[in-house]
C-alpha cells in the first residue's frame, strides 16, 4: 500500500515522525506528525500524558521504557494515523519497541556523520538506521527519504513535535 502511494510521486508520498516529550510535572507526552514530501504537516496526533509511579518503575524494571514507549504511547499514536507514510522515523531508541505493534517500516534517525553509521545510511547530515525487521528495505527507504531531505532536515520535524507537545503541556 505505502509503496504504491510512493510510486504515485510526491503527491502521495508522506513520512511519519514519532517522538516523546518528558514533562516533570505531567509525565510522558507522545507525538506523531505525518508530513508530505515537502515537509508540510498532514496529520498530528498527541497523547495525554502518562505518569509512571515509582512502584511501576520498580516492577517493570528495564522493560518499562520499551513497554511505555512502544506499546502504550507509540502504539496508540500509530493506531490513530489516517495517512499511511512510507516510513516512520523516530529519534528515540525506546520508540523502536513500537515495531511489533505496526506494519509500517520504522527507522531511528540521528544527527551524525558518515563514519558513525553502524547499520544504516546517511541522508543529508542525518544517520538513518532502519529497525532490524526493516533492514532489508534499507535501499527503498533511503530513496524515499532522500526526496524528503531535499526539502527538510530529517531531524527538524521532531523539533516541531516537541514544540507542540510543550504547548500542550502548558495548555
Amino acid at each position: 500500500m505505502d509503496v504504491q502511494r510512493a510510486e504515485a510521486g510526491l503527491e502521495g508520498l508522506s513520512f511519519g515522525f514519532l517522538t516523546t516529550l518528558e514533562s516533570a510535572a505531567h509525565g510522558l507526552f507522545g507525538g506523531y506528525l505525518v508530513v508530505d514530501a515537502l515537509g508540510r504537516p498532514l496529520e498530528f496526533h498527541c497523547t495525554a500524558p502518562v505518569k509512571v509511579s515509582r512502584a511501576q518503575q520498580i516492577l517493570y524494571g528495564p522493560t518499562l521504557h520499551g513497554h511505555l514507549h512502544g506499546r502504550q504511547v507509540g502504539g496508540a499514536l500509530l493506531a490513530e494515523g489516517k495517512v499511511t507514510p512510507a516510513v516512520v522515523l523516530t529519534d528515540n531508541d525506546a520508540m523502536l519497541h513500537v515495531r511489533p505493534h505496526t506494519h509500517l517500516p520504522l527507522a531511528l534517525v540521528r544527527r551524525g556523520a558518515a563514519e558513525q553509521i553502524a547499520a544504516g545510511f546517511l541522508v543529508g547530515e542525518a544517520v538513518v538506521s532502519p529497525h532490524a525487521e526493516d533492514a532489508a528495505r534499507a535501499d527503498e527507504l533511503e530513496a524515499r527519504l532522500a526526496t524528503l531531505a531535499a526539502a527538510v532536515d530529517l531531524c527538524e520535524p521532531f523539533e516541531r513535535i516537541r514544540a507542540a507537545l510543550d504547548e500542550a503541556a502548558r495548555h
Binding site: 498530528f44 497523547t47 496508540a76 493506531a79 526539502a151 527538524e156
Partner: protein, 585 residues
C-alpha cells in the same frame, strides 16, 4: 501419712475441655489417706490453626493506552506560483542546506491572541518559512535576508500587526511577500494597500517586482473611473493613496467593500485620531490590519494610539504610561534596527559641518534676529507660537541664502563637496525644507547636472527624475524636499547625503538619510548636516539632540520623555522667551 499410692484407674474422668478441637483427659491424682488432689482446671487456650488471609495490595499495570488527540490539516499551505512566474530572472531559494551549525530559521510562531490549542498547533507544526517557500519554488527578485523572513513569519499569522523596522530594512518587500503568501494560500482574496500619494508608483513597482503574478489595480482618476476600479471583483490587490481613500470613504461603504487585509504604508499618517484620514481608515471593513512605519512614535506616545485605532482598536489609550503601552503592544509590534540585523550593512559616517557665515550674511542674520526678538518682546504675552515660528523660518532661510545679497556660505561648502563627489563618479542627495531653496541650488549647481524631486512636481516628472538620476552619469546630484523625498524612495546607489538645512524632527531626517543608507548600498554612506555656527540652527540642533531617543525608548519598553519634536516651549526657549500662559486643563 500422705502419699501418692496410686496413679491411674481411680474413677470416672473429669469433664474434658476441648482445646482447638482435640480432646484429651487429665489423669486423676489420688494420694494416700483418701485425699484427692485435683489439679485446677487450666484456663482455656485457643491456638490458631489456620492463618488469616493477608491483605493484598494490587499494583495497577500501566493504563491500557493513553487518550490520543488528533489534528488533521486539510491542505498544506500552497505557495507554488504558476509556471509563468518562474523565469530566469528571479532568484529561487537555494536547495535545502540543513542540520548542524545552520542559523536558526524563521518560524511562524502563533500570536498570543491565538488561544485555541488546535490553532496554535497549526502554526507550531508548519516547517520554517524558508522551507515552505523552497518547497513551493517561490521566486524572489533578490534573496531575502534572514531577518526579512522573520518579518514575514511575524506578519503572516497576525490579524493586528505593526512592522516598525528602521527605514531601509525592506518593510514593503516583507509586506508584499506576506501578501503574496496569503493570496496564494487562499487566506486573502481582497487586499487593500494604502500609501502616501507620492509613493503609489513606487509601490506599484515593488508589487510587480516582488509579486509579479498578482494583479494590482491602482485606484485613481475621476470618480467614475474610481468607482469602476473599486468594484473590480477579481483583482486581489488594490492600491490607493490616503487622499483617495478619504475622498472615497462613502463610496467604499456604499459598495460594501470588505477586505481580507488592509496594509498601511507610512502609517504615521493616521497618528492623529481625530483626523479625517484616521477616521476613513478605521472605518474600513477588514479582517486583518497591518501598519508599516519606521517611526511609529514620531512626536509623542499618542502617535501610537492613533495607529492602534486601526491595528487593534482599544488595545492602548492615551492615558497609559509609555511602559504600560509598550507592554500592551509588544506582541503586535516588530521593530528591528540596522545595527542589530545588518552586520553586513555598509557603515554610515555622520558629520556635522559647522558653517561660518560670511560677513554680509552674518550681518543680515544678526539684524533679522535682533529685530525679530525685539518685536516678540514688545508683544509680550500677545506673542504666539505662530509669531515665533515665523521668526525661526525667516532666520533659517537667511542661514541658507542671504536674503539681501544672495550670499551663501553653505552653498560654497556644498559646491566644494560636490566637486569631490563628482570627481569620484559618486552620487549625492541634497535635502532642504524649501522648494525655493532647491530651485536656487539648481541654478547654482548646474555643473553637477542637478535634478529636482519635490511635491510641486507631477508624479510622472518625479519618476522621470529618479530614473535619470539613477541611469545617467551626467547627473551627480538629486535635490529633494523633506516632504516628498524623505519617504519610500530607494536611492541606495547614492553614497552621499547632505542635509542643507534641518527638519524639525530627527525622525524625518533619519528617513531622508535612509533613502541612501539602506539594503543594497554599495559602500559607506556619508551624511553631512550643515549647521550655521552661532545661529538658530545650532540651538535647534541642541534641542533635537536632547529629544532624539523617544521612539527607541517606547519601543524598548522603558519610560521616556513625552515628545521628540519641537514643542511650543522649545520654540520660545530658542530666543530665551517665556511661553504664553495656558488655560488650566
Amino acid at each position: 501419712m500422705t502419699g501418692i499410692d496410686q496413679l491411674g484407674d481411680a474413677g470416672p474422668l473429669p469433664p474434658v475441655r476441648s482445646f482447638g478441637g482435640e480432646a484429651f483427659a487429665l489423669p486423676r491424682i489420688v494420694v494416700a489417706g483418701g485425699c484427692e488432689l485435683a489439679l485446677p482446671v487450666p484456663p482455656a487456650l485457643r491456638l490458631p490453626v489456620t492463618l488469616p488471609a493477608p491483605v493484598v495490595t494490587s499494583l495497577e499495570p500501566l493504563p491500557p493506552r493513553p487518550k490520543v488527540q488528533s489534528h488533521f490539516f486539510s491542505r498544506p499551505v500552497d505557495v507554488a506560483p504558476p509556471a509563468a512566474a518562474l523565469g530566469d530572472g528571479p532568484q529561487h531559494l537555494a536547495p535545502a542546506k540543513v542540520c548542524r551549525g545552520e542559523a536558526r530559521r524563521a518560524r511562524i510562531a502563533p500570536p498570543k491572541d491565538v488561544v485555541k490549542l488546535s490553532e496554535r498547533f497549526f502554526y507550531l507544526l508548519q516547517p520554517d518559512l524558508e522551507t515552505m517557500l523552497r518547497g513551493g519554488k517561490l521566486a524572489f527578485p533578490r534573496q531575502p535576508f534572514p531577518f526579512q523572513f522573520e518579518g514575514m513569519a511575524f506578519l503572516l499569522p497576525r490579524h493586528s500587526a505593526v512592522l516598525a523596522d528602521e527605514m531601509g530594512l525592506g518593510k514593503s518587500m516583507q509586506a508584499i511577500s506576506s501578501i503574496r503568501l496569503l493570496v496564494r494560500s487562499g487566506e486573502a482574496r481582497r487586499v487593500l494597500v494604502v500609501c502616501p500619494k507620492g509613493l503609489v508608483s513606487n509601490w506599484a513597482r515593488e508589487l510587480a517586482d516582488w509579486a509579479p503574478e498578482l494583479v494590482v489595480a491602482v485606484i485613481d482618476g475621476d470618480p467614475a473611473r474610481r468607482r469602476w476600479q473599486w468594484s473590480l471583483p477579481d483583482v486581489p490587490v488594490k492600491l490607493a493613496n490616503y487622499e483617495v481613500l478619504v475622498r472615497d470613504r462613502d463610496l467604499v461603504a456604499e459598495l460594501g467593500l470588505e477586505f481580507d487585509l488592509v496594509v498601511l504604508d507610512e502609517a504615521q499618517r493616521i497618528k492623529n485620531k481625530s483626523s479625517q484620514t484616521n477616521r476613513a481608515i478605521v472605518s474600513l471593513d477588514r479582517r486583518r490590519s497591518w501598519a508599516l512605519t519606521g517611526t511609529p512614535v514620531e512626536n509623542s506616545a499618542d502617535d501610537l494610539v492613533g495607529i492602534f485605532e486601526f491595528v487593534d482598536p482599544g488595545q492602548i489609550n492615551d492615558r497609559m504610561t509609555p511602559k504600560a503601552m509598550a507592554g500592551a503592544v509588544t506582541d503586535h509590534i516588530l521593530r528591528r534596527t540596522k545595527d542589530k540585523v545588518l552586520t553586513e550593512m555598509p557603515p554610515r559616517l555622520d558629520r556635522d559641518a559647522r558653517i561660518e557665515l560670511g560677513p554680509e550674511q552674518r550681518e543680515t542674520y544678526r539684524r533679522a534676529e535682533e529685530e525679530g526678538v525685539l518685536r516678540l518682546a514688545d508683544m509680550g504675552r500677545e506673542a504666539t507660537i505662530q509669531h515665533v515660528f515665523e521668526l525661526v523660518l525667516r532666520l533659517k532661510q537667511i542661514c541658507n541664502f542671504d536674503t539681501a545679497t544672495g550670499e551663501s556660505a553653505k552653498l560654497e561648502r556644498l559646491t566644494a563637496e560636490l566637486e569631490e563627489v563628482q570627481a569620484s563618479g559618486r552620487k549625492a542627495l541634497v535635502f532642504s525644507q524649501w522648494v525655493e531653496t532647491l530651485g536656487r541650488l539648481r541654478e547654482n549647481l548646474s555643473a553637477f547636472g542637478p535634478l529636482e524631486y519635490h511635491g510641486g512636481m507631477s508624479t510622472t516628472a518625479r519618476d522621470e527624475a529618479i530614473r535619470r538620476f539613477k541611469e545617467s552619469r551626467n547627473h551627480s546630484v538629486l535635490l529633494l524636499s523633506y516632504g516628498a523625498g524623505a519617504v519610500g524612495l530607494n536611492l541606495q546607489f547614492s553614497q552621499y547625503v547632505f542635509l542643507f538645512d534641518r527638519w524639525w524632527n530627527p525622525a524625518v531626517e533619519d528617513q531622508a538619510i535612509n533613502r541612501a543608507h539602506r539594503i543594497g548600498a554599495a559602500g559607506a554612506v556619508t551624511v553631512t548636516r550643515f549647521l550655521s555656527a552661532s545661529t538658530i540652527e545650532e540651538r535647534i540642533d541642541e534641542v533635537l539632540r536632547r529629544k532624539r531617543d523617544l521612539s527607541e525608548t517606547i519601543l524598548s519598553q522603558a519610560d521616556g520623555p513625552a515628545s521628540a519634536g519641537l514643542t511650543a516651549d522649545d520654540l520660545f526657549s530658542l530666543f530665551e522667551l517665556a511661553p504664553p500662559r495656558r488655560a488650566a486643563a
